[in-house]
């Protein structure tokens, strides 16, 4: 068959095979113990529940997924919201913090990249602030901002600013001298040089930084929402853990992965748009 010569087709088949194998082993290796003995007194009193809590099986998770995704946006009070609604809360915070970070990081990165003086002057601050876990800012943010919603946006802001800032500065400072000479010999002013030459030349590096940032922001929002609570996918995971509903926990873990992948794909696509071949 000719179709099996195609690498993509073969890779897809292999992926499906690995998935099926994994789910089968999971499902088979995670069966409830056989109940051949009659129930004890205690079990009868407890309504015949399983003697031991188990990680849910793929079939249970699948059933829950179908149920949740068929009505993702319902809202039955603070403790029972649809998964889609929770994801939207998280996405709103991530995008808000991320866009604010981009608004600061890209112009400041430009400045640092253009001026060796600013680069050297700001470098110590960046090097110290960059490795701080974004969640370490949370108490300070809560104290100063006095609002859990704003604080979680701030945490996203502070964690996504560094990759964008550093990549923008690097991309701008690494613009080839030849391109700058073209700008100089054509008497382009500083503003036209920035927009016509430096920005397009550095765009792939800047977009790479933005892609790293969105990944980190999505990682951090889950942890931040576990801390501040209320709404969002991170809160949802923690809430379901407190409800001892492990099926929902596993399901939401999967949804976090899927949304993270989609965010990354979007940025990858945007990066491809500004990519150029020398």
């Amino acid at each position: 068959m000719d179709i099996f010569q195609n690498l993509n087709v073969r890779a897809a088949l292999l992926s499906v095979l690995i998935l099926v194998l994994f789910l089968t082993i999971w499902e088979q290796g995670n069966k409830a113990p056989d109940v051949d003995k009659p129930m004890t007194e205690y079990e009868r009193l407890m309504g015949g529940s399983e003697p031991q809590a188990r990680v849910p099986n793929p079939s249970e998770i699948g059933a829950l997924a179908v149920e949740e995704l068929s009505n993702p946006f319902y809202d039955k009070g603070p403790n029972d919201k649809g998964i889609g609604l929770q994801l939207l809360y998280s996405l709103k915070r991530v995008l808000l913090g991320y866009l604010l970070a981009a608004l600061v990081a890209i112009p400041v990165g430009f400045l640092i990249g253009m001026s060796p003086l600013m680069y050297k002057a700001l470098d110590p601050f960046i090097q110290v602030l960059k490795p701080i876990s974004p969640l370490a800012w949370m108490p300070l943010a809560l104290f100063i901002l006095k609002d859990s919603e704003v604080s979680s946006v701030f945490v996203i802001f502070i964690c996504s600013i560094w990759p964008m800032l550093i990549n923008t500065a690097f991309g701008v400072s690494a613009v080839k001298k030849d391109y700058l000479n073209v700008a100089r010999t054509h008497e382009l002013g500083p503003l036209r040089t920035a927009f016509l030459v430096v920005l397009p030349a550095a765009a792939p590096t800047i977009l790479t930084g933005m892609r790293i940032s969105i990944g980190i922001a999505w990682l951090v929002i889950v942890a931040a929402e576990m801390l501040v609570g209320g709404t969002g996918i991170g809160y949802y995971v923690w809430n379901e853990w407190n409800n001892l509903d492990l099926t929902s926990v596993v399901f939401s873990i999967l949804m976090i992965g899927v949304v993270g992948m989609l965010l990354d794909l979007m940025l990858a696509k945007a990066t491809r748009l500004v990519q150029y071949v020398e």
Partner: protein, 316 residues
């Protein structure tokens, strides 16, 4: 006494690099004097390291000389300007723009008041001139080296500079493509009467294109040793020119210089020229290998300033 004024006049150019810890500073070239007339095509030949590209960058305004001045149209060259178009060795096209946009952005900078139709028409005229019509919407990466260099040349001509600077423009091209683009360059220069200053390594290319060729002695402490007049009549073409009776006389003169004399001149004892404070050679001697005539522009102090006069010296 014919007073001569050059369109482009380089006076006493020096380029020095600071010494690496305690040593002597490195003088790449010094005492560099040369002039280019309007409409003239001048090539400069010399071994690597004699500072040809630095000279080009100084003329373009991208680099600064450690001493001396360059005057163009009696105005000092003090920075890059659209009056001087540059074609770099590596083409230097902006890879994220199509060929057309690479030219229109230059045209827009030259004539900011033009409408976009005017800019488009003007740019297309030059794209057609270099034979790239139909490929104007492609990105540089989708073109061959030869085609990229044509875009680069079209860009430089499109801004209609007073002086065109070419830094080994054909160095990276294969022989066939090079020949084709050389002929196109000759054609365009004959149409437009463009003043050109070009760096090359290729003796045959220099004879084909140039009215005069500057020969540089080896660096460090390089200088322009002579200016060779190529009086083979135009229109020249690659096949005919080698049959011209003077072709090999000129070629041998150039090759002899590059192989032997460029080194000897660098030897301070051989190169020592007796100085006469009142009448010093302002420019390198002008040599015509075909006739054997050597002439020298002499600058003499007069009551009204200094005067330049041409004297036939016939040293050879």
């Amino acid at each position: 006494m014919n007073r001569k004024k050059y369109f482009l006049d380089a006076q006493g150019l020096v380029k020095q690099f600071p010494a690496p810890k305690g040593g002597q500073p490195l003088t790449v070239f010094e005492n560099l004097n040369f002039g280019i007339n309007k409409g003239e095509f001048v090539c400069i030949i010399g071994h690597s390291g004699c500072g040809k590209s630095t000279i080009m960058n100084i003329l373009a305004g991208l680099d600064q000389a450690s001493g001396g001045v360059v005057l163009m149209d009696n105005r000092e060259v003090a920075g890059p300007s659209l009056d001087r178009g540059v074609v770099f060795q590596n083409y230097s096209l902006l890879p994220w723009m199509s060929c057309l946009k690479n030219i229109t952005f230059a045209v827009k900078s030259r004539w900011p008041q033009w409408s976009s139709e005017q800019v488009y028409e003007h740019s297309m005229k030059y794209i057609e001139m270099v034979g790239l019509k139909g490929a104007e919407l492609r990105k540089p990466s989708q073109l061959s080296g030869g085609m990229r260099q044509r875009v680069s040349i079209a860009r430089a001509f499109a801004i209609e500079p007073k002086l065109l600077l070419l830094d080994e423009p054909f160095g990276a091209l294969d022989a066939l493509t090079r020949g084709m683009i050389q002929e196109e360059l000759i054609k365009i220069c004959e149409q437009t009467g463009q003043t050109v200053f070009m760096i090359t390594h290729d003796v045959d290319e220099a004879i084909l294109l140039a009215d005069r060729i500057f020969l540089m002695s080896n660096g460090p402490n390089a200088t322009i040793a002579e200016s060779v007049v190529i009086d083979i009549p135009r229109h020249r073409d690659r096949e005919q020119i080698i049959h011209h009776p003077n072709y090999y006389t000129i070629r041998n003169h150039l090759v002899d210089f590059l192989v032997k004399r460029s080194k000897e001149l660098n030897d301070p004892e051989v190169a020592a020229v007796p100085h006469d404070d009142n009448a010093r050679p302002a420019y390198p001697p002008e040599v015509n290998p075909a006739t054997g005539q050597v002439s020298q522009l002499i600058e003499t102090e007069t009551t009204e300033g200094s005067e330049l006069s041409r004297q036939v010296v016939n040293m050879q």
